[in-house]
């Protein structure tokens, strides 16, 4: 755990007490138990750091490239500059949500608490293959055609 290591070093420096090799594992173990007890999570801390970073540095070129990859889009340099400026402005604005305390609020992903709203499992006619393929940019032998994917 990085945090435990850091704390150990900090304690050692602050007190001037060197922690010998033989005590190392014991001290680390105690610090980790303590961190665990107060509900510290390394993953969460990393996430918070990431979010804090973006609030300071803003959307940079690397993040734009990463978002293009996630979105399967290639922007030309002009568009990238524009997107960077606009996303920064929009994210700044979205940050106002942090004014609200939502610790005890259940997330709401849908207007109604509706789950597994299944229809009867009856067999009914579905679309015909040729009707669906009519819109395909390329087709072959009753299938969608794509460039070679496996050499």
């Amino acid at each position: 755990m990085i945090m435990a290591e850091n704390l150990k070093r900090y304690l050692s420096e602050a007190t001037g007490i060197e922690i010998g090799e033989d005590k190392n594992a014991f001290v680390l173990d105690r610090i980790e138990a303590l961190l665990d007890y107060i509900g510290y999570s390394e993953d969460e801390a990393e996430e918070q750091q990431q979010v804090a970073d973006i609030r300071i540095t803003g959307v940079d070129d690397n993040l734009i490239k990463y978002l293009e990859e996630l979105s399967r889009l290639t922007l030309v340099p002009d568009e990238e500059e524009r997107a960077k400026g606009e996303l920064n402005k929009i994210l700044d604005y979205i940050d106002m949500l942090n004014e609200l305390d939502t610790d005890d609020v259940e997330p709401m992903s849908h207007p109604f608490d509706y789950t597994n709203n299944f229809r009867e499992d009856d067999v009914v006619p579905s679309s015909q293959r040729e009707d669906i393929l009519v819109n395909a940019p390329q087709q072959k032998d009753g299938c969608f055609k794509v460039p070679t994917t496996v050499e």
Binding site: E47, I64, Y66, E86, V105, H110, P111, R119, N135, P147
Partner: protein, 492 residues
């Protein structure tokens, strides 16, 4: 003969009374579209041949004594993100420039069964992302009250076609205000129904937990009539609520004595233009004079609705629009070397900048490391917004508010500043987040003699109550009957 001052219900009655045939009426509207739409650009597709054929069929069935619906034989049009079998459904995007759906949306099926004559498909912001219909691949739609100005959006074509007399009524879709705001900008009436009241089957998805299809018409009675046809459970949409169609029996007389209308005072503060505020405040007086109780309240949380909306809508959009891969339908870049190349180049060629920006923002808020801070946070605020409306409806039957902070602005005026454009949705998005219904009806004119609308908001499935209040207002006022030069000059 002029039909421009007639509503869909009146024209439906005239057809039944043999005062006019559906074919004559349809032909008159097609002629009018030919003349008018070069100015308005409300239509992406006009299907003259198909419409006339439908009109003949419907007329034959009416002549044979069949009762289809009160609107049988009346010509209408459909927003271009609602699937119509064999008829181009482009979503205003290059991505679907050639997409002819192999099936009908449930709403289209229900309208056809009710004897609707579909004139064609209507212009919109690309994939319904926008508030002005300027992001359409097919060019901006123009406001019939001033063609230098936007129609609003994203259902700009749906509102403009009705406002210009090119269609008697239309269907739009509303994810954050896309029916209500263009209605306000163009001086027509519209309803964003309760989430789950109308099937979304065949509506090209933008943000699935917010999207609803709804009607636009010359008055609220036409809208209610259309909504009674298209609403009701559909097994093909798992988010469609298992209830019967909405019933508006007894709502049109509009007796609202004793009804309590809430005025959220914080909706009338900073950011609302004076020329919009004034007609809405006058409308409140009208309701008072009609016997409604007016009570002031605050819904402070809606200040946070826009950031919440843009996080959630973009997150859902980034997922929904991942289906456009250049493989199954729509645009595909030629001569790609590998599959990834097909994805990247087809999507980059065919999506406009607003769509790209929203997909990227959505990808961001859903990505590892940012999910909790942005997406999950917004989901929690969504719950707070819903709770605030629940609390408000403990104190009143409905809420009255402006629809948009301004009247229709000039084409190009806001398109370079997305954030400014987003702020125009301040009064509408919270309704979608809460999943409740909202009605938009004309209540006056603002700067440059452009129409102003007001919004009535109610709890889930309170559409009949909202229609009753809107009908009471329209029975007492004439704002919905005002005609621009296209309405006056149209041959139809």
């Amino acid at each position: 003969m002029s039909f421009n001052n007639k509503t869909a219900l009146e024209l439906g009655q005239m057809i039944k009374n043999r005062e006019i045939s559906s074919v004559e009426l349809t032909r008159a509207f097609i002629d009018n579209i030919e003349k008018t739409d070069k100015d308005i650009n409300a239509f992406i597709t006009v299907d003259a041949e198909g419409a006339l054929k439908t009109a003949e069929d419907v007329q034959a069935r009416i002549d044979a004594g069949e009762h289809l619906s009160a609107l049988a034989g009346v010509p209408m049009a459909i927003k271009d993100n609602i699937c119509t079998k064999g008829m181009l459904t482009s979503c205003g995007s290059k991505m679907l420039y050639n997409f002819k759906p192999p099936y009908n949306a449930t709403v289209a099926d229900r309208l056809y069964s009710a004897g609707a004559v579909v004139l064609g498909k209507l212009n919109m912001d690309e994939f319904a992302m926008g508030g002005s219909t300027e992001t359409s691949y097919f060019g901006a739609a123009r406001n019939p009250w001033d063609t230098e100005r936007v129609t609003g959006g994203s259902s700009g074509g749906s509102a403009a076609s009705v406002a210009s007399g090119e269609a008697v009524y239309s269907l739009g879709s509303d994810t954050g205000g896309s029916i209500r705001q263009p209605c306000s900008f163009c001086g027509v009436s519209g309803i964003k129904p309760t989430y789950g009241a109308v099937s979304r089957y065949g509506l090209v998805a933008f943000a699935s937990s917010l999207d609803q299809i709804g009607p636009i018409g010359r008055d609220i009675k036409d809208c209610a009539q259309v909504l009674s046809i298209i609403s009701g459970h559909d097994a093909k949409d798992s988010t469609s609520i298992k209830t019967a169609s909405l019933d508006f029996g007894g709502c049109f007389e509009g007796d609202i004595k004793g009804m309590t209308i809430g005025v959220p005072v914080n909706y009338f503060g900073d950011g609302l233009d004076e020329d919009v505020k004034e007609p809405v405040l006058k409308a409140i007086d009208t309701f008072k004079s009609l016997g409604a109780n007016i009570t002031e309240l605050e819904i402070k949380i809606t200040d946070y609705a826009i950031p919440t909306y843009y996080v959630l809508a973009c997150a859902e959009a980034s997922s929904n629009l991942s289906r456009y891969d250049g493989i199954k339908y729509g645009y595909r870049r030629k001569d790609c070397e590998n599959l990834l190349d097909v994805y990247y180049t087809s999507r980059s060629d065919a999506f406009g900048m607003e769509v790209k920006r929203r997909i990227m923002l959505g990808s961001f808020v859903l990505s590892s490391g940012y999910y909790d801070a942005y997406y999950n946070k917004a989901l929690k605020v969504r719950r707070l917004i819903k709770n605030s409306f629940d609390d408000a409806f403990e104190k009143c039957d409905m809420i009255i508010s402006p629809v948009a902070p301004t009247v229709a602005y000039k084409i190009g005026e806001n398109s370079s500043d997305p954030l400014k454009m987003y702020l125009g949705d301040i009064y509408t998005v919270s309704v979608n987040l809460a999943g409740i219904p909202g009605v938009s009806i004309p209540c006056g004119f603002g700067a440059n003699n452009m129409p102003v609308g007001m919004q009535l908001i109610g709890k889930s499935f309170s559409e009949p109550k909202l229609v009753k209040a809107a009908a009471a207002f329209q029975n007492a006022t004439d704002f919905h009957k005002m005609q621009n030069k296209y309405m006056k000059g149209g041959r139809a």
